[in-house]
């Protein structure tokens, strides 16, 4: 349900604070389950996974470097 934040009255307008107003019916995700795997969603999540793998590899390299393991190999 949509509230308007104000109500016309004979002498003007009554402005209602959001916290005092009637609750709205929001867009609900209940029963929708997971997002539909469109091409854009699949590509975005794929890129995100690749990005996270690269970051993890860099972090792993840094940890090995700090531990002196790479120095020994060289």
């Amino acid at each position: 349900m949509a509230t308007m934040g104000f109500a016309p009255e004979i002498n003007g307008f009554r402005v209602v604070h959001p916290l005092d107003d009637v609750a709205e019916q929001k867009c609900s995700s209940s029963g929708l389950g997971r997002i539909r795997m469109t091409r854009a969603v699949r590509i975005s999540l794929g890129v995100l996974r690749a990005y996270l793998v690269v970051m993890t590899l860099m972090l792993g390299y840094h940890v090995l470097d700090l531990a002196g393991v790479l120095h020994k190999i060289r």
């Binding site: 349900m1 949509a2 509230t3 308007m4 934040g5 104000f6 109500a7 016309p8 009255e9 002498n11 003007g12 307008f13 009554r14 402005v15 209602v16 604070h17 959001p18 916290l19 005092d20 107003d21 009637v22 609750a23 709205e24 019916q25 929001k26 867009c27 609900s28 995700s29 929708l32 997971r34 997002i35 539909r36 854009a40 969603v41 975005s44 999540l45 890129v47 995100l48 990005y51 996270l52 690269v54 970051m55 860099m58 972090l59 390299y61 840094h62």
Partner: protein, 437 residues
């Protein structure tokens, strides 16, 4: 999505509210009632780390990087407008939406990463409080526990509005940065010129300049902001009709924040002009005392504390809201302490533990700062990708709330740039040898 007929709705409006005579009074009052989340999320982003970054930018490169702030203004606005829109449309926080639409794996990843980066950032906020008040002669063993207690008392009153009013007052205290900027007498023509025309510092492009540019971008668009504003909008129960005012609130917040950041750079520039060498804003403030005035010195130190307090309350709330949403706990500032124990416990544990860590002697703050940058590099691109995908989720939002084509062009461009910068920043932090000339 179902919308009730407004005529029917009007008959159900509550008797509460304020009676005004004209349409412009109605608009002005509605705006004032909606105003808050946008200003708070933006200004709290000028936290202790941001003060340090902007003053360092001014101290190292004078006024040369002012234009970058102007470029970041629309980017900040576009990202946070999406967050406000999603919060108003769904009435739920960002963490809950990621869990519901992308599943547990992505939900847990986002939540754990958010909690980690937020907690590490909180440690830096308390370190700044300790540093700034230490420079004013107050022991950390007094300043840190007193700040932590004050920050806790601020939220446990059982009233969102009380918290919001206190925080807006703290945000407005940042107006004092403009006074400090005027007191150090910059060349205003240069300020205006460098705000709109990118100029090169005398040393040309160096790795430290690139690092600082990325740090400014990372400071201005922080991952917790996405989670915070969406939860805050949901907490304030903003209505569909409030969206235009929420947008205006966000725009005012972004503009104010960028102007305050510019003022910080101007104050830092004063140190640059007088060849002051400094590691943090407290050192700069102490050095400025004899050459500017004691007022400037104390002003910078107190505003640094204000920045840290603002950052701490917003970041801790972002964590508490996100964790509460995912756990299915009561997670509202409208609730009393005993009505939402998990939510308040998360806030108090975040604040208390970060404060306690700062009091440990020889805590490795440099490691904390590096970890913040790495975790932020992980969370920001993922959170922003989820935001963009959710705002294209027709099934969830319907035609009214999804992004328009022009929104998507702008947002994908912002996302690609943020991805590249986050990767570059992380690479620079994790693999510094790659960037040494």
């Amino acid at each position: 999505m179902r919308l009730m007929d407004p005529e029917v709705e009007l008959t159900r409006s509550p008797a509460k509210g304020v009676l005004v005579r004209s349409a412009w009074q109605r608009r002005a009052l509605t705006f004032l009632m909606v105003f808050g989340p946008g200003l708070i999320v933006m200004e709290a982003d000028n936290d202790a780390g941001a003060v340090s970054t902007y003053m360092q930018a001014g101290g190292q490169y004078g006024l040369h990087l002012l234009w970058l702030l102007v470029v970041l203004l629309p980017i900040c606005y576009f990202v946070q407008e999406m967050v406000a829109r999603l919060g108003i449309a769904t009435g739920k926080g960002h963490a809950a939406m990621i869990y519901e639409r992308f599943g547990k794996w992505w939900g847990r990843f986002s939540l754990i990463d958010l909690l980690a980066v937020n907690f590490l950032t909180l440690i830096t906020e308390f370190a700044a409080i300790s540093l700034a008040l230490g420079a004013l002669g107050i022991s950390p063993y007094i300043s840190v526990p007193v700040s932590a207690t004050g920050l806790t008392l601020m939220v446990v009153t059982g009233s969102y509005l009380r918290w919001e009013r206190i925080v807006i007052a703290l945000c407005l205290m940042d107006l004092s940065w403009f006074l400090l900027a005027f007191m150090v007498h910059p060349n205003w023509a240069t300020v205006a010129h460098n705000s709109v025309v990118p100029t090169m510092p005398s040393g040309g492009i160096s790795s430290s300049l690139v690092f600082l540019v990325i740090a400014i971008v990372g400071t201005t668009i922080a991952p917790w902001q996405l989670f915070f504003q969406q939860s805050c909008v949901a907490e304030k129960r903003l209505r569909f009709s409030d969206l235009k005012w929420a947008r205006l609130d966000t725009l005012i917040g972004a503009t104010f924040t960028v102007c305050v950041a510019g003022a910080m750079m101007v104050v830092g520039n004063y140190g640059f002009q007088h060849q002051v060498v400094f590691q943090d804003p407290a050192q700069l403030a102490l050095a400025l005392g004899p050459i500017a005035s004691r007022f400037v010195r104390d002003g910078v130190l107190l505003l640094m504390v204000n920045a840290a307090v603002l950052g701490t309350t917003a970041i801790s709330l972002a964590s508490a809201w996100a964790y509460g949403e995912v756990k299915g706990w009561e997670h509202s500032l409208h609730k009393k302490l005993w009505e939402a124990p998990g939510f308040y416990a998360t806030y108090i544990v975040c604040v208390g533990a970060a404060a306690a860590i700062v009091l440990i002697p020889h805590v490795p703050l440099q490691l904390v700062i590096i970890s913040v940058q790495v975790f932020a590099g992980l969370i920001l691109p993922s959170a922003i990708i989820f935001l963009q995908l959710l705002l294209n989720d027709q099934e969830l939002l319907g035609d009214r709330w999804v992004n328009r084509s022009w929104n998507n062009y702008i947002n994908w461009t912002i996302i690609v740039v943020l991805f590249a910068l986050s990767l570059l920043l992380a690479a620079q932090v994790i693999l510094p040898n790659l960037f040494q000339r």
